[in-house]
Amino acid sequence: MTTTAPPPTTPPATPHLPLRSARLPRSAPALVAVASLAAAGVLALLLGWGIIAWAVVAGLLHLVAITVWSRAVENPRAATDRFVTSLIWMALIIAFVPLVSLLYIVVENGAGQIDGQFLTYSMRNVVGEGGGIYHSLVGTLLITLGATVISVPIGLMTSIYLVEYGARSKVAGWIRFLVDVMTGIPSIVAGLFAFALFALIFNDPGIHFGIGGSVALSLLMIPIVVRSAEEMLKLVPGDLREASYALGVPKWRTIVKVVIPTALPGIITGVTLAVSRVIGETAPLLIIAGSTDSSNFNLFGGQMSTLPVFIYYSYTQPGLNPEFAQGRAWGAALVLIVIVMLLNLLARVLGKAFAPKTGR
C-alpha cells in the first residue's frame, strides 16, 4: 500500500489512495434486522399472515437488504461475508425455535395437570377424569435404577481396563471402537434384544417384566458410561499412580484407592448424564416392560408402566374421554422433562464443582 518516492515518470497528481475502504456502521446488521422485521410486519398485518410467514419473509428481507447495502457501500467480498454471517446467526435462531416452543407448549399444557393427586394416584380403575402417574413414576425409577446398577459396574470396569490395562493395545482399540459403534444402537433394537433374550430363556413368547427393561436400557447406557469414565480416568495424573507404586501399593489398590477417588466427581457426572439420557427412553420399554394401570413394585414379575410409555398410550389411545387422558399425557411429559432437566443440571453442577484441575 505504501509507495516510496514516486518515480519521476508518473504525473505529479497521483490519485488519492484511501488506506481504509468504506465500511458499514457497526450497528448495520441490527438496523437492517429491525427494518426488515418491521417491513415484513406491515406486510403481515396487511395480508393477514401468520407468525411463521412473517418470520420467513423478515429473514429473507434481511439477507437481501444487508447484502445489497454492503455491496453498494463496501465491496462484493464484504457483501458475501455479511450474507454468510446473517445466515449463520439465523441458523442459530432457527435451532432455538423448537426448543423454546417445545418447552413452552409442554409447560402450558402440563402445568395445570400437576397436583397432589396426579403425583400420588395410579390409574387403577380410573375411567375419564382423575387418576395419576404414581405407577409410572415408580416404574420409571425402578427400571432406571436397575439399569444403573447393571451399567455402572460394567461400564466402570471396562473403562478401567481401557485406561489402566489395555491402554494402547490392539484389543483395547477394538473395544473402544465397538463401544463407540454401540452408542448408535437404535433403542428399539435394544428392546428387541432384551425381548429375544428373555423369551428364549423363559420360553415365553409374551414375556413382559421390568428387569428386561433395565437390561435393554443398560445396553444403551453402558457405552455412555464407558466413554465418560474413560475420559475422566485419563485425566488422572500419572504422577499420582507412580507415587502410589513407589510406596509399594499393588496396582489394583492404587486404582481403587487413588485413581478412582480422584476421578470420582467426573464419573458421577457422566453417570448422571447417562441416566438422564435413558430415563426418557420409550421404545424398549414399550416392548419388554409393557404397560399397566396399577402400581407394580416387582421388577421381576408382571408388566410395569413407565412415564414415557404412559405418555405414549395416554395420547395415542386415550379411550372414552380423550381430553382427560391427553391432559394426563401432557402432565406426565412435563414431569418427565423436569426430571431430565434436573438430572442434567445436577450433572453440570457436580462437574463444575469438582472439575479436576488440569492444564487443559
Partner: protein, 314 residues
C-alpha cells in the same frame, strides 16, 4: 488425547499378587462382556427372527415373502432419515460455526449447552409436540404447497388434513439429530489450526473467507462422519416417528399427503404390542435389518472419525 503417560506394566515385585490378577481379570471380563453383548444382540435377533423367513402372507401383512414385507419399511426409514438430514445438516453446520467462530467467547459455552439440551428432551415428548403442536401448525403450509407447487412430485398432494406427514416426521427427526451433528462439528471446528486462521486473516481475508479456506477443509471429514452418526440416529429413532406419522406402508416420494411410508422402528413400536406368533418373529427380523443398517452406518462413521483423529495425531 491427553498427555498423561500410560503405565501398563505392573509394579516390580517378586510374585504377582492375587488381588492384582483378580482385578485385572474382572476389568477385562467387563470389557469382554460388552463385546459379548454386542454379538448377543445380533445372535438373539437372528435366532428369534429366522422363523420369519418361512412365514406366509398371513403373518406378513399380506406380502408374499419377507423381503417384499420389509422393503417398504427400509425405504421409509431411509427416506425419513434423508429428509431429516437435508434439513438438519446445513442448520447444524451453521450453529456449530456460530458457536465456535461467531459468538462472543463468553456466550459460546451457554449456547452450546442450550443446543445440548435439545438432545436431552425425551423422544416421546418430541412425538407429543410433533403430533399436538407442530403438525396442525403445518397444515396451512401443506395446503399452500399442494396448491402452488404440486407440479413437483414431492408436493403432489393431496395435502394431509392433520399434518401427520412424512415431512413433519422428518422435521421432528431433524430437530432430534441436530444436537449430535452440531456437537461433533463444533468440536472439530474449534480444533482447526489457529495459525492457519490467523494467517488467512492477516492476508486480508474476511471472516467467511477465513472459514472457507482454513476451517471447513480441516473439518470436512468430521462433518461427514457427524452427518453419518446423525443418519444412524435418525434411522433408529422410534417414538417420534411412530406418533407423528400417519403411516400406510406405501412407497412414495410425496412429502405432504396422508398416505406415507412407515419406518422399520415405528412399525415395530406400533405393531409389537398386539403381535403374536410368527408376526413377532417377523418384527424381530425387521429389527435385525435395522440393526445391520445402523451398525454399518455407525461403523463407517466412527471409522472416518478415528482415521481423521489419527491424521491429526491425537
Amino acid at each position: 488425547m491427553s498427555t498423561t503417560e500410560q503405565h501398563t506394566e505392573s509394579p516390580r515385585s517378586g510374585t504377582r499378587r492375587l488381588g492384582d490378577s483378580v482385578f485385572a481379570g474382572t476389568a477385562f471380563g467387563a470389557a469382554f462382556l460388552i463385546l459379548v453383548a454386542l454379538a448377543g444382540v445380533a445372535i438373539f435377533l437372528i435366532v428369534q427372527g429366522a422363523p420369519a423367513l418361512g412365514a406366509g402372507a398371513d403373518d406378513l401383512n399380506g406380502k408374499g415373502s419377507f423381503v417384499s414385507y420389509v422393503w417398504p419399511f427400509v425405504f421409509g426409514t431411509l427416506w425419513a432419515a434423508v429428509i431429516a438430514l437435508v434439513i438438519a445438516t446445513p442448520l447444524a453446520i451453521g450453529v456449530a460455526l456460530a458457536v465456535s467462530h461467531y459468538a462472543p467467547r463468553r456466550l459460546a459455552a451457554p449456547l452450546g449447552y442450550l443446543i445440548d439440551l435439545l438432545a436431552a428432551v425425551p423422544s416421546v415428548v418430541y412425538g407429543l409436540w410433533g403430533i399436538g403442536f407442530l403438525g396442525p401448525r403445518l397444515v396451512p403450509a401443506y395446503g399452500w404447497l399442494a396448491e402452488h407447487v404440486s407440479w413437483l412430485p414431492l408436493f403432489a398432494g393431496p395435502a394431509s388434513g392433520t399434518g401427520r406427514t412424512i415431512l413433519t416426521a422428518g422435521i421432528v427427526l431433524a430437530i432430534m439429530v441436530l444436537p449430535i451433528i452440531t456437537a461433533i462439528s463444533r468440536e472439530i471446528f474449534a480444533q482447526a489450526p489457529r495459525l492457519n486462521q490467523e494467517a488467512a486473516l492477516a492476508l486480508g481475508a474476511t471472516r467467511w473467507e477465513m472459514i472457507r479456506l482454513s476451517v471447513l477443509p480441516y473439518g470436512r471429514s468430521g462433518v461427514v462422519s457427524a452427518t453419518m452418526l446423525g443418519l444412524g440416529r435418525a434411522m433408529g429413532e422410534t417414538m417420534a416417528v411412530a406418533m407423528v406419522l400417519s403411516a400406510s406402508g406405501v412407497i412414495t416420494f410425496n412429502l405432504i399427503s396422508s398416505t406415507n411410508p412407515s419406518t422399520i422402528a415405528a412399525n415395530i413400536a406400533l405393531s409389537f404390542p398386539d403381535a403374536t406368533g410368527l408376526k413377532v418373529n417377523a418384527l424381530v427380523a425387521t429389527g435385525l435389518v435395522l440393526f445391520v443398517i445402523t451398525f454399518l452406518v455407525n461403523f463407517a462413521a466412527r471409522g472416518i472419525v478415528s482415521r481423521a483423529d489419527a491424521k491429526v495425531g491425537r
